[in-house]
């Protein structure tokens, strides 16, 4: 299953990624970063098709999706 990573310092809580996700795999969490910005989080990553639209539209380079293959290749846990 693909994994979502959020850079808490870079995210400004605009939630464009959540809106663009075609599969609604991610959503707004109730956690705030130090500046009070709402952080996105996984909702159901089994839905995630790895299209990387969230990575593409993020204005602040604060989100990354690691697909199973990438995880496997990097030897990280899947």
């Amino acid at each position: 299953m693909n994994r979502l990573y959020i850079n808490q310092d870079y995210c400004k809580g605009c939630l464009i990624c959540v809106d663009v996700c075609p599969k609604h795999a991610i959503g707004a969490s109730d956690r705030l970063n130090s500046k009070g910005y709402i952080l996105p989080d996984e909702i159901d990553m089994s839905e995630c098709s790895g299209c990387m639209l969230c990575e593409m539209v993020c204005p602040d380079f604060a989100i990354a999706v690691e697909t199973d293959e990438e995880a496997y290749r990097h030897g990280g846990e899947t």
Binding site: K12, S34, K35, G36
Partner: protein, 198 residues
Amino acid sequence: MGGDRRYEIRIAGFGGQGVITVGKILGTAFSVFEGKNSVNTQSYGPESRGGACKSEVVVSDGQINYPYVRKADVLVALSCLAFETYIPDLKKDGILLVDSRSITDIPEQDQYRVYRVPTAEIASETGGVKYQNIVALGALYYLIRDHLEESSLREAIKENLPPETRDVNMAAFTKGIQYVKDHYQALGTREKSHGQGI
């Protein structure tokens, strides 16, 4: 004849918290409705959101030459960075008002009196976190009520904020006052700092 007696207030946070608006309202209250001389200045970075930002009000019955705060009588800090940056300039026995959610670790000390108010939380209950600054203004009013009338601040809010948000702003202002009244009952004006409010 040295410089006239000055009462110095500094409000600091980050861009977008309405810090500059609070300074503007305070200045209007003192100068337009209390008939005192006051200088309101602002300093800011290029960022309109997120950067460090402060607004100051110097009040005096006489002439105000140097326009900025020299040693603050009151510091209102709405962000951690603001607190750390400006706490050294707070006068002995001065008033420190902080947003309790963003500033948590304040050293135990008896240099100044600490008042913690969850301005962001109260604001979001009232109409949205963007009213955090007016909640803080309400709390600030109660702590410096020897220096000006509540009506002066309410008039200044009307003068400086759009009519369509007047009600929610007035509500936020009242809640700020109420919070300090409820949580700091034994509040004499010369009270020694008693640390943990809530």
